[in-house]
Assembly symmetry: D2
Homo-oligomer: 341 residues x 4
């Protein structure tokens, strides 16, 4: 399967290059970057110098992109930019796996509310499939465009979806608190992201209406079969990679930690990338960074009746590039863990 | 005022040494450490070699401690150990500022519930004053023992107390989520606290019933004039110092961010160490580490009706040694910021 | 090939578990740990919970170890302890790959000088092969025991060996300056290795006679065919993994950076794990961590006539576990990069 | 003494704001920043919000600058930019303390060689005094312009100057190896300085001819009374502040570590900011960050005859803003430690 990564020099793009060059069933045919056109990948991303020895960043026109002998295009671009590539590629009959937010929502109004401009293609938005492989069936027959989920949403949807579907938790009162490593903020230079600004630092940002909220709520609502409104409190902490989410939920009727774990075990039976932890171990990003795994656990708070649901993932793997490749594997009919750490 | 620090080699002890050796109205007469008896402080804590040039760790017996010409003894010891020093010192007529949890609660049963053993002196427990200077009146006449608050409780009580007292927020539904630097876990070697274990790591711990919960709830309940039960979710992040707390509350009737800020501004008028931030700036530990200041802010979440209350402090200063010195200043009749950064 | 890792819970041991469980030609039959006997590996090293699903730490007696159906035993133990396992295993006809310093030197006196006790088996010491695969021919026929090189020595020998052998640099005046991540100091809890002690910290240690000096000098001397004495200045910096070495050498007669690079390119032609960088790129640990690669480069200092030789490697992969597996691959007749990142 | 800081928003500027607002004998009258004109300092540098409550960044014209009622102007600007401010201020009879490299060298040709453009004022260059207070006599009567030393030069000159002057070490063969925190690279956003690029990273840069080399060699040569050429190898490590330098020197005739220490103790007798460490303690940036102190030590390498000279300082205090204030104190006739940590 010949593939192309558009926007390959950012952090998600790098992870895709790393994964796809080593993927046994994929031929990474081209990688693009406006900024680094003509540069060998090893010069710009020395970490990849051995893996991607013969790859050079190109900057093709849209016509040239379409003429490439590639079937699948990964878009590792900011929202907005992604759609400008996706639409002509889709119209030309290509398959697209988009890591941006451009095709994650079902509702164009919601897109406009959270992303500040009208959606450029409500038609393709309506046709896109949301690429969380553990909770959605993915197939090229359904749609040629997969919207790969955001990093925060993945960390919240994986633990909550089965519980909502099974009716184990209430739809009201959900509060998700997350801590992210700095790579989640991207690679565009800014004072705020300098080493000395983020090192020895921790605090919330994006309150009260971080863009990922739109996606989290839409997905939760689908599984709850009812509109859900939650609170989402993201924080940055001084580490390169990883997201840890701690989510407060209220039980629907009688519940126990074991019932929660049993629900997860059943729902995720056979899924290699979801790991339900034992009672006495909490998820920690240190344990998942470098893998495509998400660790989840539950702790009941007997004093308040609340349940604390915790998760940890690598924001660039399960939260971005790893998950995109997982979706590709499924659509290609491969084992979903092919080529993934 | 001659003072002594008992247990001066831990992280809180170090901060006390640093502050008291430079305090214009205090003579740091003695510092004790079982482990480092006879060692000059600069040898064990090279950071302090210039400040504390003539200080040497001693390991006096209780009799010798009492015979020291000191009026005030700071206890920078683990809970349990602190009481074994506090009780004889108090009985001998000394004044004690205890940084441990041993005298923070009012109720001995609660102490036993959270700390696992019967309180060694319910009498002195009943007489102790809780040393959060912005919310409690402190005076040697009230009591010779001040229980200096915990680091997490300080970060939660400072923002919530005025709001509860003013009836602006509900007593139900409070959820406090905190991120702490690693120094909060102390200096005793363990695998979990090794650099390579905590670096590039983030996750919750101590769920669902961290010991500080007892102290937070007792204090909140006093100001709320009603028993309060909250959820508290502490996390560790890879930084040396600092705590950032993000607290969810529900308004009592009509409320606005400005009303919250006005309540704080009024309550903390003239208090040098509480800073209410402007609307568009969130607290971050990077901005308070190295100071005795706590930054607080509020963000209303119009979509859910909740309010997000955020705070940031240096866990070793406002959350430990700095606050203890602030209490000393007040009891000595000094300006509360004397000798504090 | 059935293998066993003795001492699998330390940082080098963990890396071996990670590599060997995923190695296509190896069956990791047993992993031992005195401390964690009976514990599943995922409970102690949650990072490995998915990879090493069915592995449990055992603590067999020497007899039981010998009876295991394993051909090759990896020793990831402190020096001294390693020999006590190696000797009976070797005497029983097993093959040993030792990651400690116990069999790296050729001279027992030198071992005693640097390691403070008489070598327990000068016979096996004399028979051991030094396992730097790029500079030594490795074969089970030569010897059943491979002494896997130290992390610092690897970073210094790889760049210097070809230059000494080719007579391009002087044997006098070599000064090696290294910066190591904290994992090089191991996983045994101590105050010095706590997060808060090492974070925001940098400085030299082990001056002037770090133990690795013995090994570096012995190896250099062999290739120089003359006794060499060098200066070695190791430093710790606040990162988990990685070593960067900056080495000062003097040219022997006329020399140029291109001649140095040509020498390396020829010497390491076909070796997958040595990468000679382009003129304008310096080695950085960030680019090699997570790989078994070592990056090397040279910068002539025209003003002084000196040459600056720089290298960077992952201390736990090329500097420890990765290199040990590379040696195994070669002895097994496999491609040397089998199962290595 | 009324003062002004020109370029107050960078890392050195911030440290100056912090020091001068708390200095008992200084009135910080104005702080300038092109970028942040009109912004209160606390908004841009929240860390300083309490200290510098009433300060706002201004952006005065040169005429307005000269008209300010300030006697002393601190320049915390890049080289080149600093001179464009210094020259008119000096011509207008103002005193200048310049933290850039513009007036540190004595030789304009050398400036051009290392900084790439002709020096804009060889006359003022000839008149500037080099502001390393421990080795140079500073006085407004000597000159109205003080060139505050670079961070790396300070860490190398403080230990070497007395040894060269006393003839204890050779003038040949000096090699200085340094590790710096990231703040030394400034606050201008660039990809290389992003958190995720520098975290978990270590490597050399600026080889073989870092700009600071010009200043180090000029100063060493003055004290050696002979032209000296050295090697200088700077590295970046993942920490905010601090420089640690490890310097190789050769003894001139008989020497011992005690003789080196005695030389330092005599030379720096009464100087509060130079600390000679005991034999068994190496300098570490963790011990000096936050202070204006430099720690130095020596380790003889009996095997090679070399001596290892190590130092550690806070690059923003003793290596920049702290040292500039120290120079101001001396010129004002104050105790040199006034207002310094």
């Amino acid at each position: 399967m010949k593939t192309c990564i558009i926007g390959a020099s950012g952090y998600s793009g790098q992870v895709l290059v790393e994964l796809l060059t080593q993927h046994p069933e994929v031929d990474l045919h081209a990688i693009t970057s406006r900024q680094y056109e003509g540069k060998p990948v090893g010069e710009i991303i020395p970490k990849l110098s051995h893996i991607a020895r013969n790859l050079t960043f190109s900057n093709p026109s849209m016509e040239e992109l379409i003429e490439l002998p590639c079937e699948v295009y990964f878009l590792a671009l900011p929202h907005g930019a992604a759609a400008t590539f996706a639409i002509p590629l889709l119209n030309a009959g290509k398959k697209v796996i988009d890591l941006s937010a451009d095709f994650r929502l079902t509702c164009p109004q919601r897109y406009e509310e959270f992303y500040g401009s009208a959606h450029p293609s409500p038609e393709w938005l309506a046709r896109a499939q949301y690429g969380l492989p553990e909770t959605h069936s993915l197939s090229w027959e359904t749609s040629p465009i997969i919207a790969s989920p955001g990093c925060y949403p993945t960390s919240i949807l994986i633990p909550l979806t089965p519980l909502l579907e099974a009716g184990l938790i209430q739809k009201e009162g959900v509060i998700a608190n997350s801590i992210s490593g700095v790579s989640g903020a991207g690679k565009t230079p800014s004072e705020r992201l300098l080493f000395c600004e983020r090192n020895e630092s921790a605090g919330p940002y994006g309150l009260p209406k971080h863009r990922h909220l739109s996606e989290i709520e839409e997905q939760l609502s689908q599984f709850a079969k009812e509109d859900m409104v939650i609170s989402f409190l993201p924080h940055l902490a001084p580490m390169n990679r990883g997201i840890c989410s701690t989510i407060i939920v209220y039980p629907q009727g009688e519940l126990s930690a074991n019932a929660v774990r049993a629900c997860w075990e059943k729902y995720y039976a056979g899924r290699p990338f979801v790991q339900v932890l034992h009672e006495d171990t909490q998820p920690d990003v240190a344990n998942v960074v470098g893998t495509n795994r998400i660790d989840i656990n539950v702790t009941p708070d007997a004093r308040t009746g609340r349940y604390f649901i915790c998760s940890a993932e690598d924001n660039l793997l399960k939260g971005a590039g790893g998950q995109a490749v997982q979706s590709l594997n499924i659509c290609m009919g491969l084992c979903e863990s092919t080529g993934l750490p």
